[in-house]
Symmetry: C2
Subunit: 331 residues, 2 copies
């Protein structure tokens, strides 16, 4: 199969490598000329995925038209805040009968659109497959066992992605609850910021576990209000990815939270980084979605206030802990 | 209030300290004479809780009769395999109108009784409160924020425990689903052994997140088959404690699993330890419960086979990963 991966960060590179190892013809579009050049010359991507040798059949392109032309499967994996622009530049050159996949996690600012909706809208197709779940790119590259979800309202498209991308160590389960899978992937980044804040305040592992538990509960509440299934949030794209992001290696989202917990401002916490953390962008969208649908999301609200309204981390946490004692089922 | 804590390990000591800090009169029974002596003389328990200064009003007793006599609240926290024997020795001396609490997590071997049933049976009372949730003892001692569950079919008893044991940093939520809370507490230790095995095999964080996710799913299936509520498993005593045990500091359960994953036998893995890991004892009970109620529990089955039937860890994991690809909702 002719496949195209649009986005040359760590995850895009690993997904392209998986396709190449599955004996598909893969072209990867990357924004950075040095990434394109290194992949084609040395079969590696030291900028985003240091230490990993890529499949020699993977080709990188600097021109997005070359990357997507004639592809039967097009997988987008750019950061959420540039996804629409990237898809728009690819759209005139894609074959609209292809299978479209998006591995970006997020909710678009202002429009509050999910990533599959952004792709579907720009390419003018009916169904897009969301690929999500607990998957540190480096572990997938190292062939450590990983299980993820391919979600689509088009069951045949999800099964196509499952059969094309699966390997003995990369397992893909299908799911028809796109809204649940996408919301979970976006919201877990907000929870990762919350976890980082708690770590910055040195609250310990007991409270981290409680935060993750309550975090999933409020993510599920929002999902159900938007028509998603609660069981999706109990699955790989929900609980699985949340647990990985909040307890695994320190992500950008948690690192930003950590600085906020230690008393720094958002500006200070972001200053040292070359890209915005997805959890910061998505906190605003999540807060707005909760408000519009009248869903109680105390953790999202706390993170939003710390990020954008100048609340002190310590006071926000005290508020969370100080809620009236009651039955667990009332929360 | 006159309160008694039966069991002088780390968790029993911390719970007694919490009661003493709440200005209750507390007597702690400990099996080890050196623990009793140190608590009364130096107000610490270096054997089980090194580095923590205890409230000076807490008294320790070597004789269980002295510890429980006239107590209005009796809290048992001995290891699961000796709980019945300990409760039996206390039973003739307790006031049966007291509030009885058990903080031991486990399922009794052979009888498959829950810990509240063991206590209720031996003391001959109707309702016992189960105290459970994500709570590393040392963090509670250090007053780091912690949230747990007090579960009982007797709502008034659960609320009594809530009001007596709660503090600004130790939050207790009530729950009437005793079966769910107790099963979750016992089963998470089996999942911790599984997580340790995966760590011993160096499978990485992606698969740990997937294992925890599927682990909670099968715990929930068993619970629902036994009349528990699925939401209990999504709460603090379920997901919360599971996440803490599988991702926090290395517990005895995970340490035993780690050695098994590295190819050692159960005998070798247990040889270096002075007490049996709860997850090992409970794997047998969990396996038997699943069998009797015809509930699919592939992780429990895998752990059981590795522990008691000489299966190799690597083969068991390969079997888990090799299951046929399908929809997430079919699992």
């Amino acid at each position: 199969m002719q496949a195209s991966v649009v986005g040359g960060g760590a995850w895009g590179t690993v997904l392209a490598d998986l396709l190449a190892r599955g004996e598909h013809h893969v072209r990867l579009w990357a924004l950075e000329p040095d990434v394109v050049e290194r992949i084609n010359r040395c079969h590696d991507n030291p900028r985003f995925l240091p230490g990993v040798q890529l499949h020699p059949q993977m080709r990188a392109c600097a021109d997005i038209r070359d990357a997507v032309r004639d592809a039967e499967l097009v997988l987008f994996v750019s950061p959420s805040h540039v996804l629409r622009e990237v898809v728009r530049s690819a759209a005139p050159h894609v074959d609209r009968t292809a299978t479209f996949v998006v591995a970006t996690k997020g909710i678009e600012r202002k429009t509050l659109a999910l990533m599959t909706d952004v792709v579907a809208g720009e390419v003018a197709v009916q169904a897009v497959v969301a690929l999500s779940g607990p998957s540190f790119a480096l572990e997938v590259a190292n062939q450590q066992p990983t299980a993820v979800v391919a979600a689509s309202t088009d069951a045949a498209a999800a099964e196509r992605v499952q059969s094309v991308l699966s390997s003995p160590t990369f397992r893909i389960y299908t799911n028809d609850d796109v809204v649940g899978v996408e919301l979970a992937g976006a919201l877990k980044n907000v929870m990762a910021v919350a976890t980082g804040i708690a770590e910055g305040l040195d609250l310990g592992l007991n409270s981290r576990a409680a935060l993750i538990t309550r975090g999933l509960a409020e993510m599920t509440r929002l999902g159900v209000a938007l028509g998603a299934r609660a069981t999706t949030f109990a699955g790989l794209a929900g609980m699985g990815d949340l647990v990985l992001t909040c307890t695994g290696a320190l992500s950008r989202n948690r690192a930003v939270g950590l600085e906020l917990g230690r008393g720094r401002t958002l500006e200070q916490a972001l200053a040292a980084r070359d890209s915005v953390a997805e959890g910061v962008l998505n906190a605003e969208s999540a807060y707005e979605l909760a408000r519009r649908h009248d869903v109680e999301m105390p953790i999202v609200r706390g993170v939003y206030r710390i990020l954008f309204e100048g609340h002190r981390a310590h006071a926000a946490i005290a508020e969370l802990m100080g809620r009236e004692l009651r039955s667990e089922h009332d929360r």
